[in-house]
């Protein structure tokens, strides 16, 4: 098998996949959950329950009515305490439904057996899209883009190939890796459902070759699933980026500012494929996900199957509590994750991992002057000039940012990782992106 990768930029951070050998454990149901209504890259959902209501597992509690929006379901059964603003990972209040857990009653119609159901013959394309939409499935790789929107190919565009993202290029994270090993068959059925929903007959699962066991495991299964192939990829960060994966697997480049469908590809995460299987075959909405809890100074790292809304503090307690020298707790991986403001924030659909960094690792070095070495430009996988964009954003030249294609930035953090002057490039670029986004929206209106 020839190894492929993307050509432009990229870095090789240490992998630290310490929890790769740990099987997925089922996390006990917490006593109280807080389920945010804005777990999607789009319009937050509208709550349809109120204080005092009794809810069951899998019951719809938030309706996503806008085009880019998603349904939210209760992950536990119990009583709704309140629907109110709850601080999210940044500390700002966002609307969430707080539920006090009472027992574990599931709504009727959800098949909780673990039996594999491979029968997808009767499904039609619109059935699949409708099912994915009503199950509230969003991209579980972290960007949380509603999955049903990806399947609705715009007029004039043709989907040719479905790419399944099993790259997991972020250091420390192993949730997708474990999923591929332990839920391989389900994943492949989910992949077939997605292919049918999209109307394509070809799917490629891209996996980096640091997960040889996953590659071998899936390769041993694909004989029963026509159309699906596995592509081993050379380890390089940020290969899990949509555009990088397309370049690596089918050697096509997504034009600036366009979506992957422009080159005939649709990318979905392995986690999403598994969620699609559960939604379509088992009628189970997205109420659980796999979360890696890892850290060098932790007693043990682990992979948990967690109900959405579980406080992160409970996950940390399960692995032996916060070590004393903790400097930062990050939601996501070390490259793109976000430092948490409080441990009481809940696990959401986009939480792929919880990373505990010790004080030494967490400390940022003091930024010094840019020496114009050009390393950031060399590693940028999107071919941008991070030092220039950061400077433009710092001095508030947002139209300059836009001209220099700041919106193409995927915020992978490679520039900041490689910068010998420890400059906070991504902080400024993110700021520039928000401002340019505002500019573009105001122009549209």
């Amino acid at each position: 098998m020839t190894l492929k990768t993307f050509k432009l930029g990229g870095i090789h951070p240490p992998e630290h996949k310490i929890s790769a050998g740990k099987a997925i454990e089922l996390m006990p149901i917490p006593t109280q959950v807080s389920i945010p209504l804005g777990q999607v890259l789009g319009v937050p959902s509208i709550p349809i329950v109120k204080r005092g209501d009794q809810v069951q597992v899998g019951q719809l509690i938030g309706k996503g009515e806008a085009f880019i929006s998603a349904q939210v379901h209760s992950s536990v059964s119990g009583k709704v305490l309140k629907v109110d603003g709850v601080p999210d990972s940044s500390g700002y209040r966002r609307n969430a439904v707080l539920i006090e857990v009472e027992g574990d009653d599931w709504t009727d119609g959800i098949d909780r057996s673990t039996e594999l159901n491979r029968n997808i013959r009767e499904l039609t394309q619109s059935d699949i899209i409708e099912k994915i939409k009503s199950s509230g499935i969003v991209g579980l790789g972290g960007a949380t883009f509603p999955s049903h929107v990806k399947l609705m190919v715009p007029k004039g565009k043709v989907a040719e190939v479905l790419l399944i993202n099993g790259v997991e290029c972020e250091p420390y994270l192993t949730s997708d890796h474990r999923l591929m090993l332990e839920r391989g068959e389900e994943l492949l059925v989910g992949c077939q459902i997605l292919m049918k929903g999209l109307g394509v007959d070809r799917a490629i699962i891209g996996i980096e070759n640091n997960k040889m066991d996953a590659i071998d495991h899936l390769a041993s299964l694909i004989a029963d699933y026509p159309g699906i192939s596995i592509q081993a990829l050379k380890v390089q960060y940020p290969q899990g980026g949509e555009k990088q994966l397309i370049k690596a697997c089918i050697n096509r480049e997504v034009p600036s500012g366009k979506l992957p469908i422009e080159v005939g590809a649709v990318v979905n995460n392995v986690g999403t494929a598994f969620a699609v299987y559960e939604a379509v075959q088992k009628n189970k909405p997205l109420i659980e996900r796999i979360v890696t809890v890892a850290g060098k100074s932790l007693m043990e790292s682990a992979n948990f199957q967690v109900r959405i809304g579980t406080p992160i503090s409970q996950l940390i307690e399960k692995v032996g509590g916060l070590p004393e020298d903790t400097g930062k707790v990050i939601s996501g991986g070390p490259m793109m994750g976000k430092a948490l403001n409080s441990l009481e924030v809940p696990v959401v659909k986009g939480t792929s991992g919880i990373l505990i960094m010790n004080a030494k690792e967490a400390k940022r070095s003091r930024a010094v002057n840019c020496i114009r070495c050009g390393k950031c430009t060399a590693v940028c996988p999107m071919g941008l000039e991070p030092f220039y964009l950061a400077q433009l954003a710092k001095y508030e030249d947002y139209s300059g940012c836009e001209k220099n294609r700041i919106m193409d930035c995927i915020e992978c953090g490679s520039c900041m990782y490689t910068c010998p002057s420890y400059r906070p490039l991504l902080d400024y670029i993110r700021l520039g992106k928000t401002q340019v986004g505002k500019l573009m929206r105001s122009r549209q209106n």
Partner: protein, 326 residues
């Protein structure tokens, strides 16, 4: 040898004369006729180019004011009433005088009142920090303490207090508004300096309900409505769980401040209150309680704010009041 020098002098002289003639006619032809009053006005302006008047620098202000033939809406906050009267006299117009203003910080979330919960390690800029998280103390409305306002100040009228972690507006503030624009959370507000430089305002911007607000800060406005009830001049309004004192209606009667349970209402430059049994101790920080320099000419001549509105009706406000306080 002499001849060469002579030719050189003559030819250069001739070129000079010809060039001078050409330049003379060109200058006549392309002469820009400018109102001489613009220069006169610009002469007296402070030349700070701070933008506080709303124009792009002092020259632009002078041009616009001369063009407008009317001083309504024109105000140089740096020069104040004196300067505007001078300009008015020079132009033969009546000056549109404004009360002198000062920037006030509507947040008291110091390290003591709003203890640090997390540590911010990113770029030292409020603008960036605001986009990333709610703040080290947890309040999503309070001061972030990175000092964007201090950096924006052209008049050295602000500094960061190391102890409180909050910026302090000095008395030489010219109310140019640069800090107001720099603050991503709109905490700084331009308010009238008030009679004898005395001001009363609510030092809080938190629009959360009482319990979550108090979880982050001990001096937050809890919207208990006590100040609103005690105010006879209808100057205090509560919106979105936050009290706001209208400086144009406030008569500085000082009734509201002792009512405030969380000491959110600040009284600046007042004499210490006489001891009264029911009144709680004032916790106005030293820096504010100090008497200001009497050197500031702007405040001395301020007679305008004396005529604060007194006709406000004291009849009961119609709406039902529910105490949200816990």
């Amino acid at each position: 040898m002499n001849e060469i020098i002579l030719y050189a002098v003559i030819s250069l002289g001739a070129i000079g004369v010809i060039a001078a003639i050409i330049l003379f006619f060109v200058a006549q032809k392309f002469k820009v006729i400018e109102d001489p009053r613009i220069d006169e006005v610009e002469e007296v302006l402070p030349a700070a180019n701070c933008g506080g008047c709303g124009f792009a620098g002092c020259r632009n202000f002078a041009e616009e004011i001369v063009k407008a033939e009317n001083m309504e809406g024109f105000n140089c906050p740096v020069g104040g009433a004196d300067l505007m009267t001078d300009i008015g006299q020079a132009l033969g117009l009546e000056a549109d005088l404004k009360d002198p203003e000062i920037a006030v910080l509507r947040c008291n979330g110091s390290c003591e009142h709003s203890p640090q919960k997390v540590q911010y390690d990113g770029v030292k800029s409020c603008f960036v920090a605001n986009a990333l998280f709610s703040g080290e103390g947890g309040c999503a409305y309070g001061c972030l303490g990175c000092g964007d306002c201090v950096e924006a100040c052209d008049f050295d009228a602000m500094y960061m207090d190391e102890q409180t972690g909050l910026p302090v507006v000095k008395d030489n503030c010219n109310a140019c508004g640069a800090c107001v624009k720099a603050c991503p959370r709109n905490i700084l507000e331009l308010r009238p300096r008030g009679k004898k430089d005395r001001r009363i305002f609510v030092a809080c911007m938190n629009e959360e309900k009482a319990i979550p607000a108090k979880a982050n800060c001990s001096v937050t406005c809890t919207a208990c409505r006590k100040c609103e009830k005690v105010c006879k001049f209808d100057a205090i309004k509560i919106e979105n769980f936050l009290a706001y004192i209208d400086p144009h209606k406030c008569t500085l009667c000082r009734k509201c401040a002792p009512e405030c349970e969380t000491n959110t209402i600040w009284e600046v430059n007042f004499r210490p209150r006489k001891e009264r049994p029911a009144v709680k101790e004032q916790t106005v920080p030293d820096k504010i309680a100090e008497k200001p320099d009497s050197a500031n000419p702007l405040t001395k001549k301020d007679e305008k704010s004396d005529t604060a509105v007194k006709d406000a009706s004291s009849e009961s406000k119609g709406e039902a009041k529910t105490d949200k306080q816990v």
